[in-house]
Amino acid sequence: MQVQQDFPEVTFHPDHSGGTKKIWRIFWVLSVLTIVELGLGYFLYAKGTSLGDFTILSTKIVIGVLTLAKAYYIVSVFMHLGDEIRNFIMTIIVPLVLFVWFIIAFLADGNSWKNLRNTDAGSRTNKVETEIKVPAQH
């Protein structure tokens, strides 16, 4: 390797001699994932409130999982983190695992706050305003 000779502490380099085929393949993967997400987004929009809560929630979870897949491809291929050595990858990824708990804890907290307010902290039955579907407007 003729490059990066002036970093003596770096003892080997990932092989960069490959072509751009992989980059374009990942571009198409990201585009298709985005289009699927948009398809699901339009599905939620078109069906509106006729869908049950469970269907809406599971569709949103699927969109979230597809987003995580996009994040994986960007970080691993475009940012070349997949080419680094395992211990380095772990110092980045392990702290980010805290997000799993942050998200669960805070969203549950928000939900609990809503329930407490709707029921005056449990002193009456829940009477949520009935939602009326608003037609698109400007």
Partner: protein, 290 residues
Amino acid sequence: MGATTIPAGTKWWSGGKSPFNVNYGKVMMWYFLMSDAFTFGAFLISYGTIRFSVNHWADPNQVFNSFPFAGHANLPLAFVSLMTFILIFSSVTMVLAVHEGHQMNRKGVEKYMILTIIGGLAFLGCQAWEWTHLLTGEHVAMLADGTLDVIPTTVKMNPWGVALSQEELMAALKNTPHDKLMAIANTMHHGAEHTAHQVSDSQLIEQIAASGIHATKTGPIAFGGYFFGITGFHGFHVFSGVVINIVMYIKTKLGHFDQRGHYEMIEKAGLYWHFVDLVWVFVFLCFHLV
């Protein structure tokens, strides 16, 4: 690989060596990006918490349904999808620039850096349009005092609440002062502006009610703050990324990296740029898709 033989008993963590086999600048860029991910994550989780804590939140398909030059056509998600594709594509041109850098091909790096800068500027232009559209929007909403007004989406006003029923609308119209009724009537008849003395309140109310107007209650005030705060913080990252890319382009053009013998600065700028794309993927998820 394995170009250098490493003696047995080497103390990897006592300095002078790279235990992760990555040089200092790149390691620090990664740790900066990790801390930035926590900042964005905290913002988005805070937004999620508030959104989960209220009974009604703005429906993104209504808020983000316009497209430049498409007038009042209802095109949910279309414009933000375009923004998403612009950013994905500029991420591809960035990784191609890094690739050309590995090959020590200066012309190739220059070409792809220019394309990446153009992509970044296009994204910023789209965001400017989106913000202007929301900040200058005209929506008829019922304020807390029970009167109607024409309001935009700002950090202090959110017109994206629950729709008013016909009875609620009629009651609110009766409370609304004359000048506000004029303003509402004027949003429905662009071009044919009324003057204050021509029509009485009851005529205006009749006219507004007959037009099949869509009026809403105001929504949670936090919507604008979160939207403009988070997309603004992201937009500022895009802006600084464009500035960094321009500096990298100039340094490439001046041959600095050829003199240095490697294009690692392009890789570091690339890491930052991909991170900006990565954050947008999540902003797009939280504000526009779900």
